[in-house]
Every structure is written in C-alpha cells, then in structure tokens.
C-alpha cells in the first residue's frame, strides 16, 4: 500500500519535472521569464519529500513487502537504526541523493537574493535535468519501493558496523555536501549558456559553494571520527578509496572557493573558475561511481552492482562531455586574464590553487591507478598511505607558508599591508617554538620540525591578521578565513604531533596477564558478558599505566544475531588532547588469550578541533555573505 504510494509519488515527481522543462523551453522561445514561478519544480520537490518520508515509514514499520527493507532491516533493531537504514542502502541513498539535488534547486528558487530572471530560469532548468537523469536512474535500476513476493516474515538485517549514531547523520551531511555541488554546476552552465559568466556571477556563486563545502567538511569529519572509534584500527584517515572519493570534490571545491575570490576581486581566472566549478560536481559523481560500482576493495564497500556502475559511468561521461563542450564554446574570451603580478595576493592564491590541483591529482591517481592497472594489464597492486604521505607531505608545508602570507598582501599589486619585519618576527617566533618543542620532546626529524614550524607560522599569522584589522567590520568580514585557516594549521600541527608521538601495540593477552611496553603497562583485569536485544557483548577491563597515571579501559566484542557477525567496540579515554584507545579481537584459539590493539594517540583531539574550526569558518562565511551585493 505505502510502497505503491511511494512509487507513484516518485513517478509524479518525474512527470512534474518533465512539465517544468517543457514550460522552460516554451518560455525560452517567447523570452518570457518574469511570470515564471517554477510551480512544477516546487511540486516535484514536494512529491520527492513525500516518497522519502513514505520510505522512512516503511523502514520504521519493517514493511518487508519492500525488497530494500527486507534486505536492510530487521524487527529486532532499535527504531533509530530502522530509520537510519533508509539511507544505509543503495536504493534509499539514491533517493536521498535526488532529494538533495531537488532541495538545492528549491532553495535557489526561494532564496531572497534578487537574481536575473533569465539566469534563474536557466539554472532551474539545468538542475531539473540533473534531477530527471537521477530519477530515471532510480526508477529503472534501483527502485526503493520494489516489492517482494511472498512477503518474508523477517528482514536480513543491517551490517552491525553501520549501526552507529554517527553513521546515521554522516551520509546526509556527505550528500548535502557533494550532491550540493550540483547547484554550482547548474549555475556555471546556465551563466555560460546565457553569456552571463562575469564578475556578478562570481558574487552570486560564492554562497552556493560555501554551503555544500561546509556540509562536506562536516561529512568528512564525521566519517573520519566514525572510522576512528568504530573500526578500532587507531587511525583517523586511512587513504581508503572511499575516503578519497569524498576528499576529491572537497579539494576541488576548496580551490574553487579561492579562485572565485580572485575572479570577483580582479576579474581574472574566468575559465579556470568555470572548469573548477564543473569539475567539482563531476568529481562528486565520479566518487559515487567508485563507491557504487564495485570496482573498489574497501572497508566501506557499499552493496554494489556493475550494471548500476555502468549507468553512472554513462551519466558522468555525458554530463562531462556536454558541460565541458559548452565551456569550450561559450567561455568569454579575455585578454591578459591569466597574468599575475608576482607578489600580489591573487598570485599567492593562484599558486595555492595550483598546489590544491596537485594534491587532487595525487589523490585521483592513487585511487584510480590500481583499478585501471587491474582492468588493462590484469595486475593487482596496492596504493597505501605511504604513497600519499611521501608525495604530499613536502608540499603541504609550502602550502601552509603561502596560506600564511597571502592575507598580508594587497590585491592587484606587489605590496604588503605591513612591514617586512613582521614576517621575520613570525618566523623567529615559530623557530623559537619549534626549538623548544624539539628539545622538550626530543624529536629532531626534519619532517617533524618542518611540520611544526610551518603550522605554527600559520597559526601566529592568522591571529596577527585578525587582530591587526582596523575596524570591527573588517574583522567580521575576515572571520571566516581566520577560523578555516586556523583550523587547517591546527590540523597539520595535530597530524604531525600524532604521527611522531603515538604509540601502539598489537598482541594477545590472557586474563590477569600484565604486559609492559615503552612507558606503558597493560593489565587484563577482568571480563564479563552481557546480553542485549540484538547482540551479545563481551567486555574486557584493562588497566593502563602510563608512568604515574592509571586509566581503565573497557573495550568489547559484540556478536550480532542478525546478520550473524562480530564487531569490536573500542574504548577511548582522553588525557588532555591525547587519547588512550583500545580494541579487542575475537580469537578462534581460546588458549592464546584475547587479541588486543592498544593505541596511545598523541594530540588526536587537535584533529577533531580543527574540523570544528574549519566548519565554523564555512558557516560564518555563509552567514556574513548572505547580504552581499545583488546581481
């Protein structure tokens, strides 16, 4: 019953979107955009919401007459996770994907900002085309309301590793992020088609980049945090292909934010900005392809299907061809647009933009090379964290120095706001901090010294930058940069500290046994079992001694009933910015005791702090720019 309603409201939404397109084409010929209210588009959006809510209801009621509910839910599961299972599977997540495309278009329509009617109509037209493409994809390959007969009594359950509160909110944020780049894609194409790709466009575009960028930052941060405490491997970023898939559009969007700025302030970099805007969304789709098509070998592997992969691949290729062709044909010809004065702010931004593209290339190559090599030559190779770390690390340091310098330079001319001496004093202060830290911590590795030096330099300069502003208004307009740059500096600082001072031990331990390593000693004190509605849990009690400090950790192993599977729950306790972290493993041979993994994660909380700061920067930027000049 509900499933039919859901399906028909999806069909209605598709029909309405098609009607909207017909209306646009009719109006386009008559050059009549003023009266256009996007009624069909709005109602298509409402029907998509209805079908999404109906799907949530089906999951909440465990309506096993629907295949996707049967395959991904179970009656013994808490209601919260039943609802979360809606977007924890392929079909439901594509519906969420569509909802986000539609919602961004809707927000664009109702936004208060005054936008040229012609441009507005074209943007909605293109957004609508994207919507229809994915609606067709959903209806023909992944109908979330598809029925099953006879109706099963019980569902197959959701992967226990996904039964986690963070993972309930992680995908929606990720989607609001990278699917949200569809609007900047439409905005760019519409402006190119209408010959309105100009400085006014860049002012309008900024908000629609910051919004999804902020969501994506939160999504990546939550994903990283989830991997940290759920997987039990002690790390926060594994350069796993699925993680990389979300990082690719993030890097492109970060470059886009800065290049739009240059476009707005100097009237240069038009074609570069357009390419980045198109590329950001294409990379988001490419990420979807990598995750859904089954070409990857990853912890986060989604239920995948090569046939769906083929559809997504066709969609990407066609969208890339059409959009980039339009770019080639329509991009305004500009003279001298790509020449920059050596020591001007825009030049520093351009250099860093270039570094971002370099980082992006490394991530794309590292992620796709093994896939392509296996497809073409038939050889399987692995590209692990060592590849990314060794190639990226040296350039991140230069990147930080330029981030610190840019804000002190003037636009369009080789001039600094302040005296040259101020840079030297920053440098001296950073050198002092690094020397002190190196002596205190007894660590003289050049990578360590460089990481601390450059991140301290950036931290100092962001503070000086904000406090030297002449008036309050200038401080407010620069606040978003302050937070996001400070966040990035703390991120690199934390990663450096974490990399050099973390300690780890993987071993087996028996009840009562005491193990000493480095400055730690670990004692397996106690174990007990507990029964929950959908799993059995074995808890361990461990005493960790670090010099004079005593910490008790309680990691556990869960044995889930449906589907039958073991998961390991970590136990984490912090000491200042550092974490004591432990996970247990199920061991088939009882006599060997239980497998444990202990990590002392130095300064790891700095990484979470930096995510919060960067996100804050994004939010502030979105907020302060709301009332910018109208187009």
């Amino acid at each position: 019953m509900i499933s039919s309603f859901g399906y028909y409201s999806l069909l209605t939404a598709t029909l309405l979107s098609l009607l909207e397109i017909i209306t646009y084409i009719k109006n386009y010929n008559q050059k009549n955009y003023v009266a256009h209210q996007f009624i069909f588009y709005k109602f298509s959006f409402y029907f998509i919401i209805i079908s999404f809510i109906l799907l949530i209801i089906s999951f909440a009621n465990s309506d096993f007459s629907i295949i996707s509910v049967y395959e991904n839910s179970h009656t013994a599961k808490p209601l919260f996770y039943k609802i979360a299972a809606t977007w924890g599977n392929h079909e439901g997540s594509i519906l969420l994907f569509i909802l986000v495309i539609s919602a961004y278009g809707y927000c664009f329509i109702i936004s208060k900002r005054k936008i040229d009617n012609h441009l507005k109509a074209t943007v909605v037209f293109i957004q609508n085309i994207l919507l229809i493409i994915f609606l067709f994809f959903l209806l023909f390959t992944s109908n979330p309301f598809e029925k099953i007969l006879p109706i099963p009594n019980e569902g197959l359950g959701l992967n226990p590793i996904l039964q986690d509160p963070l993972l309930v909110i992680h995908p929606p944020f990720l989607y609001l992020g990278y699917v949200g780049f569809s609007l900047i894609f439409s905005l760019t194409l519409a402006a190119l088609i209408n010959n309105q790709f100009n400085i006014d466009w860049s002012k309008l575009a900024k908000n629609w980049i910051f919004l999804p960028w902020t969501f994506l930052t939160v999504g990546i941060g939550l994903g990283s945090f989830w991997a940290y405490y759920e997987l039990g491997w002690g790390g926060y970023w594994f350069w796993d292909p699925v993680e990389n898939a979300s990082l690719m559009p993030w890097i492109a969007a970060t470059a886009l934010i800065h290049s739009v700025l240059v476009m707005e302030k100097t009237g240069k970099l038009f074609s570069w900005t357009a390419i980045l805007a198109l590329l950001t969304f294409i990379l988001s789709l490419f990420g979807t392809f990598l995750v859904r098509s089954g070409v990857l070998n990853s912890v986060h592997a989604f239920a995948n299907d090569p046939e769906r992969g083929l559809y997504i691949l066709i969609i990407i290729s066609l969208l890339a061809f059409v959009s980039l062709s339009l770019f080639i044909i329509k991009i305004p010809k500009q003279t001298n647009e790509n020449h920059f004065t050596f020591l001007s702010r825009e030049n520093v931004i351009v250099i860093n933009n270039y570094f971002l593209i370099f980082f992006l290339t490394v991530v794309i190559i590292g992620t796709t090379y093994p896939i392509l090599l296996a497809a073409i030559v038939g050889k399987s190779i692995s590209v692990g964290p060592q590849y990314y770390n060794s190639i990226l690390a040296p350039f991140v340091f230069i990147f930080l120095l330029l981030m610190a310098t840019g804000p002190f330079m003037k636009w369009k001319q080789s001039a600094f706001f302040y005296y040259k001496n101020i840079f030297i004093s920053f440098l001296l202060l950073s050198v002092f901090i690094v020397t002190t830290l190196a002596v205190l911590l007894q660590q003289f590795n050049p990578l360590f010294l460089l990481g601390i030096l450059t991140s301290c330099y950036l931290i100092i300069s962001t503070f000086v930058d904000i406090f030297y502003k002449k008036n309050f208004k200038l401080i407010v307009t620069n606040l978003s940069r302050f937070f996001s740059h400070l966040g990035f500096a703390i991120l690199i600082l934390s990663i450096t500290l974490n990399y050099f001072f973390s300690k780890e031990l993987t071993t087996n331990i028996k009840l009562g046994e005491n193990i000493a390593f480095d400055q730690f000693s670990i004692q397996f004190k106690d174990s007990k079992t507990k029964n929950e509605s959908n799993y059995q849990e074995l808890f361990g009690t461990f005493n960790i001694k670090n010099e004079n400090m005593l910490i008790e950790l309680h990691p556990s192993i869960r044995k889930y009933i449906q589907p039958s599977q073991f998961t390991s729950e970590t136990s984490i306790k912090n000491n200042g910015m550092s974490d004591y972290y432990m996970a247990m493993d199920y061991s088939s041979v009882q006599s060997e005791g239980i497998g444990i993994r202990f990590y002392y994660n130095y300064f790891i909380r700095g990484i979470w702090l930096s995510f919060i700061l960067i996100t804050l920067g994004g939010c502030i930027s979105f907020y302060t720019r709301r009332y910018d000049n109208k187009i």
């Binding site: 896939i371 296996a374 399987s380």
Partner: protein
C-alpha cells in the same frame, strides 16, 4: 593557470571539442573495463612457478616428505585441509575419486589442526591422501602462497604449479585436474 589553454595553444574550438571527446572516450573505455575486473588477491601469482621447497612431517609417524618431488615421474596434487574446516568435507568425495579413479597421488597438508581430530576425520570419511603432512603453525601453507583452507594445487612432473584452487574444488575443477594429468 589554465592548463587546457596552455597545452592546446591556439587550437580551434572544433579541435578542442574533438580532443575532449577523445579524452572522455578513453575515460569511459578504461572504467568500462574496470567494471568487469575486481581489485582483489592475485590468485594466479603462483601458477607456472616452481613449487617452493617444503618439508612435510607426517601426521601419523616420524617419516617425512620433501616437496617438490625429485623423481619427476608423475603429476601430483597438494591439498590443504583441516578437520574443523566445513568446506573441506564438501570437497572430500572429489578427492577420494581423484585417488581411486585417477590414481593421483595427493599430498595432504593438515592445517592448524588437532592430530586426533584429523585422524578421526580420515577414519570417518576415508583417507584420500598418499601422504598426510602436518602444518601446525600454518607456515607451510604460507610458504606455498596459500590464504587459508581448503586450497588445492596441481604440480607437474617438473615440480611446477599448474593449477591452484582457492576454496573447495568443484566438479568443474575436478574435470580441469583430469584434463591436465592426461
């Protein structure tokens, strides 16, 4: 900064479009092929390589066998198994047939097992092995490039690995083995 413009110089719009089309076709083709393959363990690494030297201690007594065999007379099979391994029971009848009907010498490697359980298993289901060796710590299995139990290797007269099966052998695998030893 604009890489496309830099590389192409003063290309016409038409040639830029054709270049774009070619690039995207290559992109599509490459990833289309990737859909057919899956990144995974490279099962074929050991094929056509000489079997690494292993010394198998007998499961029953003090005798031992050194592989690869030096007499170079016949093909033989190596089968990694354990009494606790469920799929091993599934492939067991096929191993018995290989021994009885095809007169193939099978060298069993008993993987991380309890000796009495292993003996019981063979008494219960029949012993397909010409020689049963023991591998208590799993080091012999790794030496020949195994991932776990069960796995089966066909070795030719020269001591080269011709076939490798991960998981229980199927009827098709059985036919393959017979084809190769003829």
């Amino acid at each position: 900064m604009d890489v496309l413009v830099f590389i192409q110089g003063d290309m016409t719009t038409k040639s830029k479009l054709s270049l774009l089309a070619i690039i995207l076709l290559i992109f599509f083709g490459a990833f289309y092929f990737s859909l057919q393959t899956k990144l995974k363990n490279d099962d074929l690494v050991m094929i056509n390589k000489m079997l690494p030297a292993i010394k198998l201690q007998s499961l029953q007594d003090d005798s031992y066998v050194e592989l690869p065999l030096q007499n170079k007379k016949n093909f033989y099979l190596i089968n990694i198994w354990a009494s606790w391994c469920v799929p091993c029971r599934q492939e067991h009848p096929l191993l018995m047939r290989l021994k009885k009907e095809n007169n193939l010498a099978i060298y069993g490697i008993n993987y991380k097992d309890n000796k009495s359980n292993a003996q019981k298993f063979l008494e219960e289901l029949g012993n397909p092995y010409f020689f049963s060796g023991s591998d208590m710590d799993g080091s012999k299995a790794i030496e020949i490039g195994a991932y776990g139990v069960p796995e089966t290797y066909l070795i030719d007269r020269e001591g080269k690995i011709i076939l490798k099966f991960i998981g229980p052998i199927s009827n098709t695998n059985y036919e393959q083995i017979i084809q190769n030893i003829k």
